[in-house]
Symmetry: C2
Amino acid sequence: MATIDDVARAAGVSTSTVSYVLSGKRPISAPTRQRVERSIRDLGYRPHAGARALASSRTQVLALMAPLRADVNVNVIMQFVTGVVTSARAFEHDVLLLTQDDATGLERVADGSMVDALIMMDVEADDPRVPVLVGLRQPAVLIGLPQEPAGLSCVDLDFEAAGRVAVRHLAELGHRDVALIGSPRAVLERHTSYADRMLRGFTLEAVALGLTSTVQSCESSHSGAVEAVDAVLARMPGVTGVVVHNEVALPAVVATLRERGRRVPEDVSVVAVCPHDVAVGQPTPLTAVDIPAHTIGRVAVEMAMARVEGEQPAETRLLAPVLTARGTTAPAPAGQGQLNP
Amino acid sequence: MATIDDVARAAGVSTSTVSYVLSGKRPISAPTRQRVERSIRDLGYRPHAGARALASSRTQVLALMAPLRADVNVNVIMQFVTGVVTSARAFEHDVLLLTQDDATGLERVADGSMVDALIMMDVEADDPRVPVLVGLRQPAVLIGLPQEPAGLSCVDLDFEAAGRVAVRHLAELGHRDVALIGSPRAVLERHTSYADRMLRGFTLEAVALGLTSTVQSCESSHSGAVEAVDAVLARMPGVTGVVVHNEVALPAVVATLRERGRRVPEDVSVVAVCPHDVAVGQPTPLTAVDIPAHTIGRVAVEMAMARVEGEQPAETRLLAPVLTARGTTAPAPAGQGQLNP
DNA sequence: TTGAAAGCGCTAACAT
DNA sequence: ATGTTAGCGCTTTCAA
């Protein structure tokens, strides 16, 4: 491989000139720049990443810790990941992928100076990795919102507001008995940030609007969805509004409601909380609060890069939820609304 | 951050001794080793990845190019990715994630000496990236099998054999009219390796066994599955055996067959080609040929590392398919087998 | 068994 | 506008 010295020699300039042509950190005369660029092309020169990192303390790499396990929704995860990778490239960065179960991964790549910043998904309310991130030299961005951000940047959909918006939409249609079919039990039990906040928004808004509400965990499978729907129908036979926050179970929830004799949306309205493409890709397009996974990933990178560049303080950005009415919500069945005042 | 010199000073030895303690490349007396290890722990020392890469031309990083787009199955992709990341760690390597649409990513990370080896998924028969990989200094491993491996290592499920096994299973149960519901049109049209080979195995074995067969592409959505099933039923009303190679469409294919009055497996037998967990996670557990994605990812890493270490030549490993009979295949309906001799 | 020192290829003062 | 050069933190000869 050609080195920067080879390029300098070929162009008849000093190595620093080549370096500055590359970095643009000082003005270079047009003719010089052209000769250098020519030599770079002729030699197929590419700076050695390690040498550059050593001299500049910049790696042009971002770490992304993603939950690659079965119980979280793979589809949504993937959208976050592509969002991160794609926008990292816009900042001339590549992405090092760490998995959740590689407990010491964050410290390894940070302390070994392998990355300029870290992004972590699937944050829990009281996440043990948060103090670890706080102790690192590199800035970190959380996708999700822990109880104690401790000076870390955070970004996510405002799931609490999403829960509120979904409930309000149902209330405005006259529904009085509403249920949340949410994340798997395991996700709830570890107090995963998004699940906690969703639950909170749903419940608080139902109380605020005087609705009767119930919450049901739901495993991410066909049978899980069937069980969840049956549990809700048993506990709240008069339910007319259902919020579903579980992409995998989504189709089965709708199908099961129908199998149990509840027409959607005539008898029961369904509001999903899921990415846009999932909502419109169903047999019946769903009224849904969008989870803008790609955007969240992009914003996470932007926040990370901002902190790498300047001395910005940490910030938290919660994206406002957007509900789009499609085919699965309708006014509550006549009379129903008055049965449970 | 502490450097190797700090450690050496603290331990009262030379820097090279610390280096050798770390690498194990020369014998160190027990007392010396202990003092060095103590200092390393006390100082929380971690070697600087860039410096190490510069001096040793080893990055301890692997590149993985994965197709993070919508039309390939996200679930399976994810299993490959976790397989790769997990076993990379076993070789003390981290994984740099490149996306399919980052066309020049492979050259960028290879020529910039960011990685020790590259692994590429979703290979097409005549993939333009193959010659690129051949030109790199670092070894590359393909997950999939191009027409012309050109000296690259390849690993994958033997999809041709998988197609044959599936057909043979149906034939042994007496089925005479069989259909393949496969990948989306786009995947087939770019001659994605696995889709091509599957189709070939299915067709050749059907011919060899004297069966009547048809092949149908299938978009990865509910409606795509419905359309595919309807197309097959229209073209081959007497079909009694269906091989499905499309994880996303799988549940909808079975559901649609039933909606069209075909009981599964009494009227129509279904053989899936999908990962184990997908097959057993369906409402009805499916007779299936397993796609051992995790294993393939692991083998890819092993092959890559072997070539990084030694001067092994490139090799191609096709994993033998394993079919497990579950609830969705049964003997062909009586008499049917004789209608189309 | 250990140490000294020459790079690895680049960046960024410091000069001019 | 450009050149000179001292590191960056490690590995690995070469010596002892």
